[in-house]
């Protein structure tokens, strides 16, 4: 049966303590912290990172033939964002890549479409990514979180979870909304949404359990996600599921509610520790209610022990960057600060970016077949042996490297100065001078191990400039590599 071949998650490095919000605004914002996408991240770049994790775990024989990208916060309107993800993942030109953008419910649609594709014999990559926020002091700001998840769906012996049953309940009501171009949502009175959601959720759960021939007590893990936390809590209490099954979502309490990614991230975390043959329910309350029941397979154990996989727990643990509330507001464009006395960055040129798509997006370098020297960016003439047009392309996105020298540039333009720039020598050859991110500028040193990460360097002239940066090599990756 078709199902999940692999999954990947991405949680950003930064956390904002809710107490920071409370202290700044003179309010009570609750305990804990929310995950914050870096100043150089957006839903597109985070989806790339989650997608890389899923594809790395899946191995080379599962190239996606369709890519569905869902987000409530697309980086571009009137331009597909999934194409940048498709390019950054180095996928085949023949693969379809489309957005399902608009609202959290779009994530449900992307997953359903992915399962349909898998049922039709194709490999589908479903990407769910969100940057959640709202006006300063709003519940969306304090309770939201940023992150991404990826599910690779297809058929074969490697399937780690199969869909058991699904059910939906759709209704039109005004719980939350915003007009295109607005950066925060309006929400209706909380109790209205609660009473609208609960009957829909109960209907969908009943339908799904009936289709699966299961009772609520038979569920091993229950994840309740969605845009209405109060309704989600009430539903959890009234489901009739076993108490131990209801603690399945350890991600949301740690990072906040991540929109389209919330359910899939909790699913990923659950699968990291689930046993074969267990039933996992993912319930999503977003403009209706949707239930997806999964059953894990015997292949899950081998998957969990697989090489080069960063678990959700690893990512939760590596979220070490603390961001202050003023910095958070600055990154979100809600606090305009005095810029450095330097010219604004210039928008990248569309024709040049298109000519260099393999380099800019896929991080594909070249290697000289005459002498073996690697070139970043690709070059026609070899710097070592001067051979002309003797190059083969070589994608280096997953090759780690070592810092040769570095600097901390306090003059260069950045939304988050200072800019850390490193010279990286890649394992098995090649060198690049690039920005380093997700790092304390005072901790960088010669010899540091780094890996590449896809980022939005800056936005100029309403053009997002995507490229790769170095970041500290995850301990789990170094160990497995």
């Amino acid at each position: 049966m078709p199902g999940i071949l692999a999954y990947g998650s991405y949680l950003p490095y930064y956390r904002l303590a809710r107490s920071e919000i409370g202290a700044a605004l003179g309010t009570t914002a609750g305990p804990g912290a929310r995950a914050v996408a870096g100043y150089d991240e957006d839903t597109t770049s985070m989806a790339v990172e989650a997608g890389r994790a899923a594809l790395a775990a899946a191995g080379p024989d599962s190239a996606p033939e369709v890519v569905y990208f869902a987000t409530a916060d697309p980086a571009y309107a009137d331009k597909t964002n999934a194409t940048a993800i498709h390019a950054a993942l180095g996928l085949d030109q023949a693969a379809l890549a489309v957005d399902m953008a608009g609202a959290v419910r779009s994530g449900v649609g992307a997953l359903r479409a992915g399962l349909d594709a898998a049922g039709a014999g194709r490999v589908a990559l479903v990407l769910l990514s969100d940057v959640r926020g709202g006006l300063p002091g709003s519940g969306d700001e304090t309770g939201g979180g940023d992150g991404a998840a990826a599910l690779l769906l297809g058929d074969g012996p490697g399937v780690v979870a199969e869909p058991v049953a699904a059910a939906s309940a759709t209704a039109e009501f005004l719980d939350r909304w915003r007009l295109p171009g607005q950066s925060s949502s309006h929400v209706w009175e909380e109790r209205f949404g609660e009473q609208a959601y609960l009957p829909l959720a109960e209907a969908a759960v009943t339908d799904a359990l009936k289709a699966a021939g299961l009772t609520a007590e038979a569920l091993d893990h229950v994840i309740v996600a969605g845009t209405h936390p109060r309704a989600a809590r009430r539903l959890s209490a009234s489901l009739g599921a076993r108490a131990e099954a209801l603690v399945a979502d350890e991600v949301t309490p740690a990072v906040g509610s991540t929109g389209t990614a919330q359910g899939p991230l909790a699913l990923a975390a659950t699968m990291d520790r689930a046993r074969p043959g267990q039933v996992i329910a993912v319930i999503t309350l977003a403009d209706g209610a949707d239930v997806q029941l999964w059953r894990t397979t015997e292949a899950l154990t081998a998957y969990q022990n697989g090489r080069r996989r960063v678990t959700v727990a690893d990512q939760l643990a590596s979220g070490q960057g603390q961001v202050s509330y003023p910095t958070f507001l600055t990154w979100r464009g809600q606090l305009r600060r005095e810029p450095p006395r330097r010219p604004d960055p210039e928008a990248p040129s569309a024709p040049v970016s298109h000519r260099h798509e393999d380099w800019k997006f896929a991080f594909t370098a070249s290697r000289c077949v005459a002498c073996g020297a690697r070139h970043l960016p690709p070059s026609r003439v070899c710097v070592k042996c001067h051979a002309v047009d003797q190059m083969v392309p070589e994608r280096l996105a997953d090759v780690p490297g070592t810092v040769v020298t570095f600097t901390v540039d306090r003059l260069a333009f950045s939304l988050s100065p200072p800019v850390v720039v490193v010279v990286v020598d890649f394992d098995q050859g090649g060198r690049l001078q690039c920005e380093m991110t997700d790092v304390d500028p005072t901790k960088v040193k010669v010899g540091d191990r780094v890996e590449m990460t896809f980022r939005r360097l800056f936005t100029a002239g309403d053009v997002h400039n995507y490229f790769w940066k170095a970041r500290p090599l995850a301990a789990a990756v170094e160990k497995g590599a």
Binding site: S353, W359, V383, T407, V408, L411, V421, Q433
Partner: protein, 400 residues
């Protein structure tokens, strides 16, 4: 095939140099009129006596009209050229070749830059439309990459490195304080330099050259004609210019402790000039101290210090005004200021003053009085691992 040079075939017979600094009251046109008028006066000629012009500017104007319009040059050839921070030297080199070729009897090289009208801090470049993948390094950040690499290679700890950089800035400020044309004419204490706000890496604001406006010019004639203009011309012994493959940022064999382009251009220039031991033969050197680590590494690349030992020589005062080999006696880019297109010719202007005994007494280089007759200028553009480099040697006497 060989680089043969034009040793002693042309000579400088007049020079001019504006004060460098923040010329809020003068534009590019006024600076050009100032420097060329002084150079013509120094050579005792009129504008009409010059047969051809080479104008170097990185961004203060395009085409020969940038010079011919303010000077009202009557229908003569004017070439405008650019080679990053080595632009002024490039103008000089081309003017020298024009005279050496016999095409013209007299030529003028002019360099100018008007930086302070942009309103930005530091240098501002403009790149052609691109794919946005190049790391956004400012100039100080690019040169600060030298520091951790040099420290790691030679086992110098970061505090010692900072002391070395501070010593270089302190020396150049000391020299500049003695120079009425310099942008910064004040001694600066080592403590002030060391504690200045960080700009990039270990570099503070006092490790950076001055952003300034200025212009400098030289009149060049055939060597055999030189004594018609002056009793003490400056003979051009060597001109070397090198542009590299920009291998540093892509080749793991480059270690960020040297400028290969400088090593090559120095070798070429020494060979043209017949110099075998620059430290023992040169009276002084004007080098491209855009940032303090640059001057440190240049001491090794130009053969003034052994590899890995320049930092000790700097601390020992070897390159001080009264040291064994005076480096940047006029204050250098650090203190004289760095109006890009003018800097290469400004370096020659100090050689012109020192070798001919016209430098103010307080900063006169003792080696000249002891009989040394050669001076070197070094000018580079770009960044570690990817630069253009120029080296010239000039002398106060024709070779025997």
């Amino acid at each position: 095939m060989a680089s043969r040079g034009i040793r002693d075939r042309v000579a400088i017979v007049g020079m001019g140099c504006t004060p460098f600094g923040e010329h809020w009251h003068k534009g590019t046109d006024e600076l050009l009129v100032d420097s060329t008028t002084e150079a013509l006066g120094s050579a005792g000629v009129k504008l009409d006596d010059i047969d051809a012009f080479w104008l170097g500017t990185m961004g203060s104007g395009i085409s020969g009209l940038t010079l011919s319009r303010p000077l009202k040059i009557d229908y003569k050839p004017v070439s405008r050229l650019e080679n990053m921070c080595a632009t002024g030297s490039e103008a000089f080199r081309n003017a020298c070749y024009a005279v050496a070729s016999g095409a013209y009897d007299t030529a003028m090289a002019v360099g100018v830059e008007k930086l302070k009208d942009s309103g930005f801090s530091g240098l501002v470049g403009s790149a052609p439309p691109n794919d946005g993948t190049t790391a956004p390094l400012t100039a100080p950040a690019m040169f600060s990459l030298l520091a951790p690499a040099y420290a790691a290679k030679y086992g110098v700890d970061p505090d010692e490195m900072k002391e070395v950089f501070t010593r270089i800035a302190w020396k150049n400020h000391h020299n500049g304080a003695l120079n009425p044309r310099a942008q910064f004419r004040k001694e600066v204490s080592k403590e002030t330099i060391a504690c200045s706000p960080l700009v990039a890496g270990q570099l503070g604001i006092f490790d950076c050259s001055g952003v300034s406006d200025g212009s400098a010019a030289a009149v060049i004639v055939r060597a055999e004609d030189a004594h018609r203009y002056t009793d003490n011309p400056l003979y051009v012994k060597a001109l070397s210019f090198v542009s590299g493959p920009a291998a540093g940022p892509i080749d793991p064999d480059y270690d960020y402790t040297t400028f290969t382009e400088v090593v090559r251009s120095a070798q070429d220039a020494y060979s043209q000039a017949g110099i075998s031991d620059p430290r023992a033969e040169l009276a002084m050197a004007e080098v491209h101290d855009c940032f303090t680590p640059t001057e440190l590494v240049l001491m090794e690349d130009l053969g003034f210090a052994e590899r890995g030992f320049a930092w000790k020589e700097v601390l020992a005062g070897t390159f001080d005004l009264d040291g064994e080999l005076a480096v940047n006696p006029d204050g250098g880019l650090k203190s004289f200021g760095h109006p890009i297109g003018a800097s290469g010719l400004r370096m020659l202007f100090e050689c012109w003053l020192q070798l001919r005994g016209q430098a103010p007494e307080a900063r006169r280089v003792a080696a000249v009085e002891r009989g040394r007759k050669l001076a070197l200028t070094h000018n580079l553009g770009g960044a570690p691992g990817q630069c253009v480099s120029f080296v010239s040697v000039v002398g106060s006497e024709p070779s025997a």
